[in-house]
Each structure stands twice: as C-alpha cells, then as structure tokens.
Symmetry: C3
Subunit: 434 residues, 3 copies
C-alpha cells in the first residue's frame, strides 16, 4: 500500500510537469509532452504527415500557437492565453482584428451554469476562431471596441503520436491506450497518460507472457490513424484497455468492450470487485477511443477504465479539471487496479487435472489437513479442490474464480501448488494467438 501511495505521488509529479503545456491533436505541445515521457520510458515518437488518408479520414494540418489575447479599449489584456491555454478554441485560425462587443460575442464560449470556469472547446475540422472565458467575466464586458489576437498557425505538418512495444513471451498483445490531445486538463487525460507511462515502466521491468503495446495518441484521429497504418498488427491484440479519468476521487468504473464478455471484461470486473465498490457500464459507441477499437470492422476486446466516467463530473472539460481535482492517492489506487488486471491476464491459464478420477490424496502431499471430522472448508483447501474439479481443459483460472466466488489470486496460488506437485498440466493451446 505504501508502494501504491509512493507511486501515486510519482505519477502526480509527472502530471504536474505536463499540465502547463498546450497540447492539441497535433503540434509542438504534443512533442514537448512526449519528450518528458521519454525520460521515463523508451517511447517511439511517430510523425504522420498532413494529408495522409486514414480510412474515411485525412490527417489534418498541424496547429501551433504562440500567443492569444483580447484587449479592451484601454489596451488592457482581459483574456490572456499565457495565463490559461483553455482560453483559445483549439485549432483557432490566426486572427488580429478590432471588434465591437456584439461581434466579439460571436466568438466567445462560456458556461452560464458554472460562471467561474473556463470551458474547453475545439474546432478541428471546421475553420473557426474563438475565445473561451468565464461566464462571470463575459457578463462584465462593457460595450466598446475590443482588439483580439490569435497568433496561431495551421499548416502542412504532422500528427505526432507515441508508441511503446514491450516484447513478451508470446506475440499476443495487450493494448493500453490513452489520449494526449488535451491542453491543461488533468483528469481528462493527463491522469491516463501518466498512469500508462508508469504502467509501461512496471511492465518493462518484468518478463511478461503477453506483449504490450502502449499508445499515446490524440483522441479519435489518433486511434484511427494508428489502426489505418497498422492493420496487420491488429490481429495480435487479444486484450486492451483505454485509460482515462483515473485521478479523481470517484469510484472506479469499467466500460465493457463491444463483445461484452471478453476476457478483459471479465478480468477488469473481477479485479474491481475484489477491491470493493465499483460500477460497470455496458458498451456504447460513445466515449473514448474504444469507439474506434470496437468499430465492427475490428471489434477488438478493448474496454475502458475510468474512475468517474466520461462526462459525468461537472469539472469535465473545464478549467476546474485542474491539479486540485486529481490527487496522488487516487492515481496510486488506479495503478494498483491496472497492475492487478495485468497480473490476472498474465496468469489466466487453462489447466488439466492429471488425476481427474476422484480427488488426489492431498493430505499425503502436505496440501490438506490430516485431522478430519471438524468443518475444514479453509479457503486455501477449497481453492485446491476447485482448481482440481474444474481443470478439465475447458475452464480458465478466471472461470474457476468466478464459479467458486474465491479471489483470482487464491485460485492462481492453488494452481501453482498443484503444478508443483504434478497434479496439473498447462493446456498447450492456451495463451497462444489462436
């Protein structure tokens, strides 16, 4: 637990470093962020040129921004991009003009229901410019002339994404994906970016059975781009998780893959349940990049892990999703769940009982109490009996954990003990890319 808290603080520190950078679906803010991630993991940074066709989409022009402001008649900056990068509609085209208040208001987004928050807005695929500000400030603007400036560029360039592949013992892959396109928003999704980074670091330090592919990509266009350019790799993906919104105080939620009963779905639910209260959401084709991974042409077993789900907290996509909204302990808890899910997938094998006719005599192998007559039923012995009873080559350890109601870890330890005593064998067909 101490380790989880400590890790939570490390993850939070990374989030804090990434926070001030202005990211979008393309541009230098993304590259700057990947440079920081590269201090932790050997990230491959990929550049895909503007205009590249990716299925029904086209990689857009690259957007960069240096500055932006609104000045009042007295020349005072009343809105300043340098103070908060949410002030500018992402992908705003350059503008420098004088406008009346009425004209200016055509280019302002605010949130009347949260008057002190700056909203986050984007216009990637339609040329536009706008500012975002608090509703309080908007209502205080007096009639008059305003000078607006957005010193941005929208030019041929690249879409930048990060990828890290960890070779495991098999070619079967676990995909971990997070979106990197948001500017100064913490829970959505610097929390996911930083968690994926530390998860990658942890997996790099082991010798996993599965191969792991981490994607740090802009939402929607990033997953579409990766899938379009890597179609041949898709069939290796056995299990996948999209990580987003993993730093707030809310309870955990797992959103199932389109398949609904994939191993990742059952694994995530089993793990979250073992830690306490949690929520499950059925698949819907709205949300994060699971939308693309679960499109019918791929139908991958990719679910989504969050704390409070997508859009269900009022701070979502506003300036209130800041460094106070996310806490180290929540990030640490998220790391724990992810590692437990990974461990479950790694250990979830199908075994065959080598002594399938009646129970083997566990007592003489030191696996069972020798004084009979009192109600045993100790969980450890029960786990041994369950693994023996269900290991007919058809049931995985997760199947057995679910049927028995015992924790996966206990079932896994029982399988290990029975393997040691040569009472089980691993089914060969299991764990390969079938």
């Amino acid at each position: 637990m101490n380790k989880a808290i400590h890790l939570g603080e490390e993850i939070y520190a990374l989030v804090s470093r990434l926070y001030p950078i202005c990211r979008s679906i393309t541009g230098n803010g993304v590259r700057e962020s990947f440079a920081i991630l590269s201090e932790h993991i050997p990230l491959q940074v990929r550049e895909v040129a503007t205009g590249t066709k990716v299925f029904d989409w086209t990689v857009p022009r690259e957007w960069n921004i240096k500055d932006a402001w609104i000045k009042n008649e007295r020349g005072e900056k009343i809105v300043d991009f340098k103070k908060c990068n949410l002030h500018v509609l992402s992908y705003s085209v350059p503008v420098h003009a004088k406008l009346s208040l009425g004209e200016l208001k055509q280019h302002i987004f605010a949130l009347p229901e949260h008057p002190d928050r700056i909203p986050y807005r984007t216009s990637y695929y339609k040329e536009n410019w706008a500012f975002c500000m608090t509703h309080r400030q908007l209502t205080q603007l007096r009639d008059g002339q305003y000078e607006v400036c957005i010193d941005s560029s929208l030019e041929e360039g690249h879409l930048t994404y990060g990828e890290l592949f960890v070779q495991g013992k098999t070619a079967d892959e676990v995909l971990i994906s997070c979106h990197t396109c948001h500017p100064s928003l913490v829970n959505d999704n610097l929390s996911g970016v930083a968690l994926a980074t530390f998860l990658a670091r942890s997996i790099l330090s082991g010798e996993p059975r599965y191969s792991y592919r981490f994607l740090f990509i802009p939402g929607t266009i990033g997953s579409i781009t990766w899938l379009a350019l890597n179609e041949s790799k898709v069939r290796n993906i056995e299990h996948g998780l999209v990580l987003a919104g993993v730093g707030d105080a809310g309870k955990f939620h797992y959103k199932k893959s389109r398949r609904g009963d994939a191993e990742i779905d059952r694994a995530a639910v089993h793990v979250l349940k073992s830690f306490g209260d949690f929520g499950v959401e059925e698949f819907s084709p709205y949300g994060y990049d699971e939308r693309q991974f679960c499109s019918p042409g791929f139908d991958l077993a990719v679910g989504c892990l969050t704390r409070t789900p997508h859009g269900q907290y009022s701070e979502y996509h506003t300036s209130a999703d800041d460094l106070n909204f996310v806490r180290p302990e929540y990030l640490g808890e998220s790391f724990e769940r992810c590692i437990a899910i990974v461990n479950l997938l790694e250990s979830n094998r199908v075994y065959k009982n080598l002594n399938p006719k009646c129970e083997p005599q566990l007592g003489r192998r030191g696996l069972y109490q020798m004084i009979g007559g009192h109600e045993g039923g100790k969980r450890k012995e029960l786990a041994l009996l369950w693994v023996l009873n269900q290991s007919d080559g058809e049931h995985s350890l997760l199947d057995i954990a679910e049927r028995s109601g015992l924790p996966f870890e206990l079932i896994n330890e029982a399988a290990d003990a029975l393997m040691e005593h040569e009472l089980l064998e691993l089914c060969e067909s299991n764990g390969g890319n079938t």
Copy 2:
C-alpha cells in the same frame, strides 16, 4: 393524437353498429356483420359446408335463431331474446314447452356473484337448450307453470368467415386475426373486429413490404378451419397478432407466441414499452386463437394483443361488456399501438456498415456537431453511432434499438440518414421468406 382520437371514434361507431346483431360460430348474424365490414374493406366472405373435416374437428351445423322467450302464468314475457340476445344459450336447439319452475331452473344460467348481469354461455358441440338471466330475476321467480320458446334452427349449412389479403412487396405475411363469434359483447370481441377492420383499411392505403392477411373467424373452429383449408399458405406467415379485448380502460398486455422470442414478440414489447406502462404474459395454450396458430404442428410466431387480458375483468362474458365498458379513446390508443407494431415490422431490416473500420467522419457529412469538447451525446448522434457500430450484417434495427435503449423510430431514422449518405447497405438476405 387528434388523428388517433378521431379514429377511435370511427372504430367505436363501427362497434356500435355491430353490437345488436346476434352472432355465433355460424349463422346469419355473422353474414350480416360481414356485410357491414364490407362497407369499409373489400372483405372476402367464405362459406365452408357443414360436415367438412378440419383436422380432428368437423364443421358443425349452422345455427340460426328468430326469437326466444319465457312467459309466466299470466302470459307475460319475463325473458325476451329480442331485448338481449345473451338470454339464449348459443346453439340452443328449438324448444316450445310448459315447465314447472323446478324443471325450468335446469335450463337457466345466472351469476350469483354479479346479480345484475346476464351471463354468456354456449353449447356448440352438445345438444342442449337454456336461458341466461340475471341472478336477481332468477331469485324472484315464483313457483308455477312457465312457457318457454326457442325458435331456433340447427341445420346443414355453412360456417362463414371473412378474409382480406393485402399483397405486399414480398410474399412474407403478417397475419391479423380476430374472432367474430360473440353476440352482443363489445370488448370481447367487437373491439378486435372493428380494430382489425380499420387496421386493414390503413394498410390498404400504403405500399407495405409485407403482405397482410386479415382473418375474421369464429373462435377455435374458425382458426382450425382456416388452417386446415389453407395449409399451403401457412409457411408464408412470418409474424402474427390476435386482436381481442382492445377497447377497455385497462393497460395493454402482450401475450407472447409459443416461441417466446420471435420478432413479433420483441416488436410488440418494444412498442408497448415506448408508450408507457404495460404487461407481458408468457405463452400459454389457453386463451384465443393463438392456441391453434401456436399448436406444435404449426408453431407460428403469433402473439395476442389485448388491454386487460382474457378473463381478467369481471365484465368478461357478461352483459356488462357493453357499449359503456368500451370507449373510443381506448380503441384509438389500441390502433396507435398496432400501427406502431406494423411500422416496426415493416422497417426492421439488417444493414451492413460500408465503412466498418473506425467511425466514418460524420462531421463533414453534416451529420455531427462540429464544435467539440462539450458533452454531446445527443440522442440523434448516438443513434447514428449505434447503427454504424452494430450494423455488421448480424443485427437488425430492433436488435440495435434494444441494445442501445433508444426508441426504434430514432434508430430507423438514423439508418435512413446513413443510407442516404451511402454509409450503409441493406443486407439482401433480409426480409425474404427464408
């Protein structure tokens, strides 16, 4: 809605015209009723001769009645068929006799638990005669001589039924069946007879995908007769509904077909749910003509739509099932549900997403909002995403409506929009008689 109310009044007016006629499973009352229906729809009236073998049954002799009464010693008619045709046991053989009160009582049916109602009773397959009267009147009869007269005939003749076939674009049929054998009883089943008539008129005015077959038949012997004489047509019946008891104030109930998960079962439940509170009953081999359509040798996908189910209201099969018990607005609501079920069946196709790998870019097609960042999730856009995600050639629009929790209509409109933009294609194997 106004249209539904207006239609409810038209349906009620037809019910009112049919009400006074004395119908039974055969006879001139049925012919007279069909003459009225023929003013609304081009009904084919069929005559099947007495003695015709229909599976395990034989078409019975034709029953007609001119008059019936009971006179007391003073020659006063104390029971008069001309005042209420329920007074005579249906299929009573002719009788003219003088009896003591004790002898008379052997031939009287009454309802002690509802002393002011005349019960409805029949004896189609066993020769008998009897009168039905209120329990109150029965208890007031004094000892003495009574003269009884039933001026009926039971002779070689025909069983008469009505049929209307509407040719659609495919040979696959939707069967709509109602029973026409009851005398002056309104909810059971002039409500169903009149509703089926107006439903037929509505379908005749369109260009339906399915063919529609409307049957106006006496209960049990009528469906057995039709099935026996039309066995070769049975395999075209894809979906079917028995309509009965659709004019009372009770909430709607759908009784499932023997199959239990047929498309008609799911369609009816989806439609009733979309209108509000309703009940579902599992199939049982008791009730209306679904008993015959769902016999194991046919096992048709035929359910039954009622408001209060069969036998679950105290007015059932008594003189209290009259023109006050049924109201125009309830008939109008029943018409609305039926049309919605028909529309769902007509539109329930399987499509294939032509851009199955990742989402297509809906924004540039004008199907999706262009400003991102705020929680969209508008139902219309969600419907588009659901149709795209699930249209893999395996899921019908009803499947998608059920999985998404969105109304069928919205899903159907989304499919139409996607078809217009050439993002979907219709699966050819769908909608044919497979």
Copy 3:
C-alpha cells in the same frame, strides 16, 4: 401422510438400533451395521483388501477397537469409550501409558464453544492417538498422573461396503449413495443410511423403469474405491443422489451436481418446491461423496439431498448429533421427497402429440367441459393443453411442468389420459442410455 409418519418411525427405529455401534471407514462396526441392514434388504457386502490401489489412494489398514479409557490417580475411569465411542479419535493407534496432565493434553480434543459436547475427530492417514471429551471436563482436570489405554488394532484387513443393485427395465441407473463411516452420530449419517435402506425396500417392491444402485460406503475412500473397482459400470449412471443429514428439523436443501442443470438437479428442485420452502445450493467440490462422483474424470449427474446442509448446524460432528436431534417425522418427510423424486425420474418421458395441427377436440372425448363461455382454465384441462402443445418430441414432462408452472404429477396424469385416447405417443429414443 399417515404412511409417511409410520415409515418415519420405522426408519427411526433402524437408526436407533445402529446408533450404539462404533463404525469407522473400516472394521467390524461396519460389518455389524450391515448385518442389521441385511434384515431389511438383500445387501451385498463387499470386502476390499488393505493395500488395494484405488486411483491415487490405497485402501488403508483395518481398524478395530475393544476398549479405551483414561484413569486418574485414584484409578477412576474419567473417560470411558464404552460410554460413548466418540471419546476416541477414530483410527487411534493402540497406547497404554502414564502421562502428566500436560502430556495428556497434547492428545485431547474438546470444543470450548460447546463445553458440554464431545467432538468427533479422525486421523485415518496419519498415525496418531487421542481422546475427545467435553470442554467442561477438560477444564476440571487437575495436575497429576493419568493412565491412558486404547485397546485398538490397525492391521492388514479389509474395507467393507454394502451394495444393492435393483434391475429395472432399462440398464440406465439411478445411484443412491450414503456414508456409513461415522460412529454414534445420528443425523450425519445414520439418517441417510436408514433412509436409503427404506428407499431400497420400496423400490424392490415395484417394477421400476430405471435400474437402481444403492451404495453404503465409507466417505471419500469408499466412493473412490467403488469408482476405481467399477469403472465400467459408471457410464450407466444417469442420475444420482447422495443422502446425508436427512433427519433434523431444518428445511430441505438440494445441492446441485457439477453439471448444474442435469435432470436430477431439475427433478429435485421441482419436487422440493412442490412441497414448500426449501433451499438450493450450487455445486462446490466440498461436502459428501458427490465430490468424487462429480470429479472431472466422471462428472456424473449426482446431487446431494440434505435437510440442514453439511456443517451448518452446531450439533454437526459432536455428541449432540444424537437420537434427540433427529425425529421420526423428519425422516418420514425425507422419505416422501425421495420417493417423489424417484417417481418423477421414472415418469419423465418425452412424448409426441399425434394430432399436432391445432388442438384435438377434447370435448367429444370427455376430456373437456362442454358448456363454453365461462372462464374454464381448470388446472386439469390446462395440463392437457400444455402436454399437447409442448409434446413435439423435444420437451419432457418435466420441461412442460416447469414451463407451465403446474405440478409434475398433474402433467403426468394428463399425459396418461392423452395416451389412453391415443393422442400421444412415447418417443422411443427417450429413456435409453443414449
């Protein structure tokens, strides 16, 4: 009901005769018990030699005991095997020694939470000796020298079990198994032994469709021995029940077989439900000999019938499980349930409706009321309609009882009536060892 009470008393009388005998998994106490059972049924007594290999196990040495006691310094017997055979750890090796109180306590079992009960303990597979006594007595023991004596023998010999095979019309078998290894414990499991005896007697008096095999075996090693020595017979076992704990006041519980939806599982649940409140337990590989019958190499359709389940009553495996804990009426109720389950299995056939197109005319066969119009729905007529509707060669009478919600008996009687009228035929493939 009187018959059940009378039988309960007979069963209780048998229990009472068996109670004083000191049984274990081997030895003369078992033989003595089988001699008593043989007064009721033609039991085959089998002897399997020490050292016989049975799967992963070896038949142990035979244990016999003549006497055992603990004397205090004054030579008074403070613990006396002859007063209660639970005082000795079953399979205790012989000992005769003087010990200090401290040394003695290393060889004492007691129950602090039930200070007036003697616990039941065994050590079959590890050489050991010990006494069991009440906690109250243990706490009163003073320091000093104690003389202990266990006059037992552990020698080459046999494991003794009883078997009774009743040849039925088919080779398919119903297995009834109970464990005979416990000394003076009544509910667990003299209740099961005596119930199985009377069940066997009842079945011997009939002409059953199934063959029946009754096993009276020591727990665990007995079922393993029987299975190992009779592997070729195992595939005839279609259904099975382990009987244990059937004499206490608790409500009935049925523990499902590993398969979970076998015919015996559904039959037992249907019967218990028809009698009132009851509990169902999912299979677990802990409990009685269903552990062995349901091991993955056999996976037999064997469930377990108890009243209060295994280990869930405080008297379990203590001297409080005595002749007061079990009552004749509870044994009688258990007999009733068992017979009803057997009758259900015997009658559960698949039929085919010979008039599958529409209903046959039941009225002219005297199977149906002749006056129509009033709400019939009498259960007997409903049962006829259900059997006709569902008898398509796919559904057994139990399937029909479950779907209709009607009692199996009523469905069975309906099938009999329809067979008499040649409206049904028995499906030939049914009831054979497929």
